[in-house]
């Protein structure tokens, strides 16, 4: 194997970054206006929204679990934030209520999965369905209200932050990414996360409390999903309970394309960022080429399979003995 391929095998994240760059170059050649400032800003905002939603999924997957409640929590945050803003509550109160509820939902997910040793796929699916149903009952199926004006300008593609021609979302995302990378690499929580995910049998002997780790990580995942839901509220302007549906599989795809293994114990948020950018590039490229939405979905699936088979393959069973 050539040294270059070996480098990509060892560092999957580089693969994702390279793919994103290649796709962008393809797009610039194939589509008129692909690299115009507006187009790049739009892609950055869409990728940023996906990156925020995938932040929690990254943590959960490093832990060795999976979070299918992200789309439901996004819808919950979206609708609840709109309702409460429409009822006149100030933004910091709305944000506080949504954040506390999201943390509680995530903590229940993590606690149930780890205490009773149930697969998180089922637990998060069930809890997510319950949350969505409760929100629908509360709004009687007709979500109302509006986006807080601060959030709308924060997310808007045409917005700008002082002299920088990007909306406030992008610098905020960069700061969040740096903070998350530092937390994962330098804090005890980050160490324990990788330890718990890498070897769940040995972790308790290193005095890591699995129930605490799972509860905290799933709570953080729900918090990131709620943040993404509120940001989407600012992006679209009105509440919509199913706003998170596309993100169910896209968050998993972004994390996996970024090089994090679903087995756990490996990966980083930078990879997820690259994966989110790559996914947004694929989506924009395919839509720009004029494919129908159904064919875009099919091509997206094929591309995910192709990308992961290039550098996301699991080791052969014989090498793990």
């Amino acid at each position: 194997m050539t040294p270059v391929l070996a480098l990509f095998r060892r560092n999957r994240m580089l693969g994702a970054i390279l793919i994103a760059i290649l796709l962008h170059i393809c797009g610039t050649f194939l589509i008129e206006g692909y690299s115009s400032p507006f187009s790049i800003r739009a892609m950055l905002v869409l990728a940023a929204l996906l990156a925020v939603a995938s932040a929690g999924q990254t943590l959960v997957i490093i832990l060795g679990g999976i979070d299918l409640s992200i789309p439901f929590v996004m819808g919950f945050a979206n609708v609840v934030a709109a309702q409460l803003t429409g009822q006149g509550l100030p933004f910091w109160q709305v944000a506080g209520i949504v954040a506390v509820l999201a943390l509680a939902i995530g903590a229940v997910n993590g606690a149930l999965s780890s205490v009773l040793k149930i697969h998180p796929l089922i637990v998060t699916l069930g809890i997510g369905t319950v949350v969505q149903g409760l929100v629908l009952i509360w709004t009687k199926g007709f979500p109302s209200g509006s986006a807080p004006p601060f959030v709308s300008s924060f997310v808007s593609i045409g917005g700008s932050l002082g002299p920088i021609p990007v909306p406030g979302l992008i610098p905020a995302l960069i700061i969040m990414a740096v903070a998350l990378v530092l937390v994962l690499a330098r804090t005890p929580y980050g160490r324990k996360l990788y330890a718990q995910g890498g070897n769940p049998t040995a972790a308790p002997f290193a005095l890591i409390n699995p129930v605490a780790m799972w509860s905290v990580t799933f709570a953080l995942s729900a918090l990131f999903a709620a943040i993404a839901g509120v940001l989407l509220l600012g992006f679209t302007g009105s509440a919509y309970g199913d706003v998170g549906q596309p993100y169910l599989f896209q968050t998993i795809a972004a994390v996996v394309i970024g090089g994090t293994s679903l087995i756990g114990g490996r990966g980083s948020y930078v990879g997820t960022l690259a994966g989110a950018v790559a996914l947004t590039e694929i989506n924009t490229l395919l839509i720009g080429l004029g494919l129908q939405p159904a064919m875009v979905q099919a091509a997206l699936g094929a591309t995910i399979i192709l990308l992961v088979s290039l550098y996301g393959r699991e080791p052969h069973l014989g090498t793990t003995i």
């Binding site: 069930g126 369905t129 979905q297 997206l300 992961v308 088979s309 996301g312 003995i321």
Partner: protein, 314 residues
């Protein structure tokens, strides 16, 4: 008394829930459960039961094995046999359509199996990719519900409704007689030990996906019979229902434990729950909350049951 207790403790929460829900449904709605409407009743439940049965072999193989694309697979085969085979090509003979459905299902299962077992992409990602490809292709081939079904296919939602799920069960009964079954359960329980004992783990897993796909082809016949046309929107809903049904029925998502009986019980539980709640005329939102809550409670109870009772068997 002790016998009843021992039987209950062995069969788990899913079976107990089945008895409770069945009694509840018969008390609430005796007309629906009268013998003369059994055909229609089974016809309503058959696609879900068949989908749950179909998704079990892949899960049994272990190491995160799962087939998320089972719903779109059913929808895709439904679209092909009704819109293309019967609609465009005019081939409506059962001896053409049924083998075609099984063959298509098996081929798609083979693709899933190659991706998951040979190329070694994580099964949830591989089948997610297939999910997106199949649902996209289905909507492209059949943008809106179209077509109609021949009379023999309609009987699969009436008096012959039990036939497709029964066919899957008979096929699986045959598979259980083969050494393949033991190797599959060994792979699901501990794939490293199975590998060192000489089991061809990738091949076993590949075949489990082929089985899942073929059974999914049979399930698509039930689905086509129920909806009566080629509909691109119905298939994907069955994925989460089928996987929830298998988990509810005691099939471990880590592999190596459970069987088709559990999957069938789980699917019937979900169907009876929907039936009971619909009778109360509650809004679909309450139905959704109830469905999620029952799923979590049922899986929690199965886990608790395993910890409390099955420990004495070791």
């Amino acid at each position: 008394m002790m016998v009843i207790w021992r039987v209950l403790s062995r069969s788990g929460f899913g079976a107990a829930l089945l008895v409770v829900l069945l009694l509840l449904n018969i008390v609430l709605n005796p007309a629906r459960f009268a013998p003369q409407s059994w055909g229609t009743l089974i016809g309503l439940a058959a696609p879900l039961v068949a989908a749950a049965l179909a998704s079990t072999p892949a899960i049994l193989g272990g190491r995160g094995g799962i087939d998320v694309s089972i719903g779109p697979l059913m929808g895709f085969i439904n679209a092909i046999i009704i819109a293309v085979l019967i609609g465009n090509l005019g081939l409506s003979d059962p001896f053409v359509v049924i083998p075609a459905a099984i063959l298509m299902g098996g081929t798609i299962g083979l693709c899933n199996g190659i991706l998951a077992a040979i190329v070694r992409i994580q099964p949830i990602v591989a089948t997610l990719g297939t999910y997106l490809v199949l649902s996209g292709l289905t909507t492209t081939i059949v943008p809106a519900p179209t077509g109609s079904i021949p009379d023999w296919l309609r009987t699969f939602s009436q008096y012959l409704a039990f036939l497709p799920p029964l066919a899957i069960c008979i096929a699986w009964w045959g598979v259980r007689r083969l050494p393949y079954y033991d190797q599959l359960m060994a792979t699901g329980s501990d794939d490293r030990a199975a590998f060192t004992a000489g089991v061809n783990v990738p091949l076993i897993r590949l075949l489990s996906y082929v089985l899942t796909g073929a059974f999914g082809g049979i399930a698509s016949l039930s689905l086509s019979a129920l909806i009566g046309s080629a509909d691109p929107n119905v298939g994907p809903n069955y994925t989460l229902l089928a996987i929830s049904a298998t988990a509810l029925g005691g099939v471990s998502l880590a592999g190596g434990r459970g069987g088709l009986t559990g999957a069938a019980i789980g699917a019937i539980d979900i169907f009876l729950l929907q039936s009971a709640l619909t009778f109360f005329n509650v809004s679909t939102f309450v139905l959704q909350v109830a469905y999620g809550a029952v799923l979590v409670i049922a899986v929690s109870s199965t886990a608790l049951h395993e910890r409390l009772f099955l420990r004495t068997l070791r």
